[in-house]
């Protein structure tokens, strides 16, 4: 009898220093099915796929293809086994044609010369068979994201791959394109291809997948048939019900409007659609507003637009009644905006500078730290740094002179928070301030954010962590595909409800 499973990953365990990324995970992909893999950020999906592709070797567990155990040591082994993947960030050469991208790596040649005619015929036949409309001669940079994705799919089909993995394939598509993609996936499955569909989006999983496996915090939660389940059930499996901690907050004293965002749009760097589409909201003094949403739905670009790192395409931003739409980054900062950036290594710190120099990164030009002749005042800088280190409990090997590079992630983040809060801002924008930190540091940072709110400041928190979203803010705005799709009250909403908004399954009208 033929084995029913195309690929089986049995009891896979993969550890990294400090964490277990995959803890005894089992995933069985039937031939000809569409199997969804659901989980939050950091649930262990990417690690599992990296194991399947031979990028990592699992410490425990086996992988079977058609019932036989196989060793996958590198991506080429995976290719040889007929496993193909459409990556979330496409691996396409922008200035090549669609056809060239498809044949790259397995080019048909005669006497060393490319035989594109043959290749084109094969590509067109595949394109016809599966309804993957592409123009083989168009350059990648000139075509839509949807067609780029179809090119990636054709790349797999051209290599006769049997197992097709789609990593968050709908993140960059328009609703119509998503509809098309789902039809394509159904066609592929009908032709006997086995499909693994990695996603956060419940509605899509319900619409297209036959079965769904759920991961949470590195653990395998279970596998369900989609026809026997509901979105609420899936959402519960994805986020769990355990609330880890609770943040104490004083009763709210709402003040005047500090930040007024009016209908702004920001262009995307990775695709041709706008990353932020006509977003409007207000943040008032004395409240924490959280922008919730799944990674890559425009939160990063929204913050870039607010802080001035990227220009706006349209719309206006007002800070304390002052129009800062076209103001420089420095102007925004001195007007009372603080920004804890998403990526502390890319933006937040100059890693080769000592801690004390990083602590004055937003204020070094002020008379307190620079004298009239332009010399840095080393004494005041040192004592200022020492005060922040003491007050915010920033731990480091050599105190103020420790190179930022040699500090732990948690203390690097504390240093940034100390710097941004001590500026005494009217508006504090904190983007994923607790990412990658341990529980103690997370609790500390939440306390600091709440303290700012209680002191009558406006706080805009951008978070991907559901616990954080539920606990810290006074209001939640959910962002989905560049738009604000809902406003929720954390006191009355549930994680399941929130999950539905984040996955694009629900929306309500938001009053700006």
């Amino acid at each position: 009898m033929e084995a029913p499973y195309a690929i089986e990953m049995l009891h896979i365990t993969k550890r990294f220093p400090g964490i277990i990324a995959n803890d005894d995970i089992t995933l069985q992909l039937k031939k000809g099915e569409i199997h969804a893999l659901l989980g939050e950020n950091g649930a262990g999906k990417s690690t599992l796929m990296s194991v399947l592709f031979g990028l990592y070797q699992a410490e425990e567990g086996v992988i079977k293809k058609d019932g036989k155990e196989v060793q996958i040591r590198n991506p080429n082994d995976a290719n040889d086994l007929g496993i193909g993947m459409v990556h979330q960030h496409f691996k396409l050469v922008e200035c090549f044609s669609v056809l060239d991208n498809i044949i790259l790596g397995i080019e048909p040649t005669k006497n060393g010369f490319l035989q594109k005619k043959e290749a084109r015929e094969k590509v067109m036949a595949l394109s016809e068979k599966y309804g993957l409309a592409v123009n083989p001669d168009a350059l990648i940079e000139d075509i839509t994201v949807g067609m780029q994705q179809r090119t990636e799919i054709l790349k797999m089909l051209y290599r006769d791959n049997e197992i097709l993995i789609f990593d968050e394939p709908t993140a960059v598509l328009t609703p119509q394109e998503i509809e098309e993609l789902m039809q394509i996936m159904r066609n592929l499955a009908a032709e006997g291809k086995s499909i693994l569909f990695i996603s956060h989006k419940l509605a899509e999983i319900m619409a297209v997948a036959d079965r769904c496996s759920v991961l949470r915090k590195g653990k395998y939660i279970g596998t369900v048939e989609t026809k026997n389940t509901t979105m609420e059930q899936l959402s519960a499996m994805m986020v769990g019900r355990n609330v880890n901690f609770h943040v104490e907050k004083k009763p709210q004293h709402l003040g005047e409007v500090i930040l007024d965002v009016d209908n702004i749009s920001v262009a995307s760097k990775v695709h041709k659609k706008d990353a932020v589409k006509n977003v409007s909201f207000k943040v008032r003094a004395g409240e924490i507003v959280c922008i919730a949403g799944i990674d890559g739905n425009g939160q990063t670009e929204l913050v870039y637009g607010l802080s001035g790192l990227e220009p706006l395409k349209s719309g206006h931003i007002t800070l304390k009644g002052q129009d800062i739409t076209n103001a420089s980054i420095r102007k925004r900062s001195t007007s009372g905006m603080s920004h804890i950036p998403e990526d502390r290594h890319k933006h937040g710190l100059v890693l080769d500078y000592p801690l004390e120099y990083n602590l004055i990164l937003q204020r070094y030009f002020e008379p307190e730290f620079t004298d009239k002749a332009g010399f840095l005042k080393r004494g005041p800088i040192r004592s200022y740094a020492d005060r922040l280190i003491e007050q915010y409990d920033v731990r480091s090997g050599q105190g103020a002179v420790t190179p930022a590079r040699s500090m732990s992630g948690g203390n690097q983040q504390k240093a940034i928070i100390a710097r941004e809060i001590d500026k005494d801002p009217d508006l504090l924008i904190a983007v994923q301030p607790t990412r990658g930190l341990d529980v103690g540091a997370i609790e500390y940072i939440h306390k600091q954010l709440v303290a700012q709110r209680d002191a009558g400041k406006a706080v805009l928190l951008v978070s991907l962590e559901l616990d954080e979203v539920m606990d810290v803010p006074d209001r939640i705005l959910v962002m989905y595909e560049g738009e604000i799709v809902g406003e929720l009250d954390p006191k009355t909403t549930t994680q399941e409800e929130l999950g539905l908004y984040m996955a694009g399954a629900k929306r309500n009208e938001v009053k700006a």
Partner: protein, 376 residues
């Protein structure tokens, strides 16, 4: 010991010394191939430079001659270094140096200016060239290396054209300052007597002062703070609201100015005259690159490295010219720069080795402790 080896300055020093040793070794091998008999002596001759003569008076005089050329080399090194701190590779230093030569000589000979205005004029000329590179980089996205090279040649030919107006009738060299513009010769403040050589001037202490000044600007001022932040992490600099384009242009203006002074520092001593038929850009600017990297990208380190490079360059002619040629020093210098490309790799390897040995030691101690525990 481990902490000592992890120190960045110490690592830079070790890396530089390794580059020098390797450079000398490869140079020695080349000499062996040319003529195996005198290779060892030749390398020693190069390294000895002024120490080769046994006459103490002559030694001091030769040391003075090396110092006279070290000063402009140091300025070129500082010029390269200053730009590199912002992440720019100013190969145009060579041309900015030429602009400084041309401006100072012309102002001295044609207008009869004194040494100080001549020097200031040299700074301005170098700075203008630097500004062009900076402007093209900031606003037109032109690679600073290529525009720098083009400007080097433009500067060379322009200088030839301008200085032709001030050349000696019978030769292709510019007029001597001593007879035609003594007011422009750099004052010596008694240094000439100390070294028994009339070309030794304030250029030498001035260059060292400027190196210290560059160190101070980079490490003690707001401007330097911004520049180094930009060079280390462009994104963080932007996040902190620093004006990148302005800083690029300003940096190259200063970098060009430093190279310009270098030109004046050599030619206003009257030690040599400019050949108006020169067809290649003087090597001073390019050697500056070597000085910078060999100096571990530190202004103070550059003082020593530029002396070393000038020292072996002047030692070159010491070799037995019946066997070898003086350019062996250029060869060694070039090899050293090439090796400097590996410094980053070297430092990473060093850190990794230290970490690994520390780990092994820790493991051993742990095992030892466990064993002892077992015995009890």
């Amino acid at each position: 010991m481990k902490k000592f080896l992890k120190n960045d300055a110490v690592q830079s020093l070790i890396a530089s010394l390794l580059c020098i040793l390797m450079g000398l070794l490869i140079g020695y091998i080349v000499l062996l191939f040319i003529n195996s008999a005198g290779a060892g002596n030749a390398i020693l001759d190069v390294l000895k430079n002024f120490m080769k003569t046994s006459n103490p008076e002559r030694r001091v005089r030769l040391l003075g001659a090396t110092l006279v050329r070290t000063a402009p080399l140091l300025m070129c090194g500082l010029s390269v270094l200053f730009a590199y701190k912002v992440g720019l590779f100013n190969i145009g230093t060579a041309g900015q140096y030429v602009a400084g030569v041309c401006a100072s000589l012309y102002a001295a000979l044609a207008w009869g200016w004194g040494w100080l205005p001549c020097m200031l004029f040299a700074i301005v000329s170098g700075a203008v060239l630097g500004a062009i590179v900076g402007f093209l980089k900031a606003y037109r996205n032109v690679n600073e290396v290529i525009s720098g090279i083009m400007l080097n040649w433009i500067a060379l030919y322009t200088s030839n054209m301008i200085l032709t107006l001030q050349k000696q009738e019978a030769s292709h060299y510019t007029l001597k300052l001593k007879e035609n513009a003594p007011q422009a010769i750099l004052p010596s403040l008694g240094l000439d007597k100390l070294f028994n050589y009339d070309k030794v001037s304030i250029a030498i202490p001035l260059a060292i002062l400027l190196a210290v000044a560059v160190y101070i600007v980079l490490n003690r001022t707001k401007f330097g703070y911004e520049l180094r932040a930009t060079g280390n992490n462009k994104n963080a600099a932007k996040y902190a609201g620093m004006a990148e384009k302005r800083n690029i242009i300003l940096t190259l203006i200063i970098s060009g100015g430093l190279a310009g002074i270098g030109g004046a520092m050599l030619y206003l001593t009257d030690i040599e005259q400019w050949s108006v038929t020169a067809t290649s850009v003087p090597g001073m600017g390019f050697n500056g690159i070597a000085a910078t990297f060999l100096g571990g990208l530190n202004p103070i380190g550059t003082i020593f490295s530029s002396f070393f490079i000038q020292h072996i360059t002047d030692g070159g002619p010491n070799v037995d010219t019946n066997l070898y040629c003086a350019q062996i020093s250029d060869l060694i210098t070039a090899i050293i720069i090439y090796l400097c490309g590996f410094v980053l790799f070297l430092k990473t390897a060093m850190n990794r080795a230290i970490d690994r040995s520390a780990e092994r030691k820790a493991q051993k101690e742990k095992a030892l402790a466990a064993e002892k525990g077992g015995e009890k």
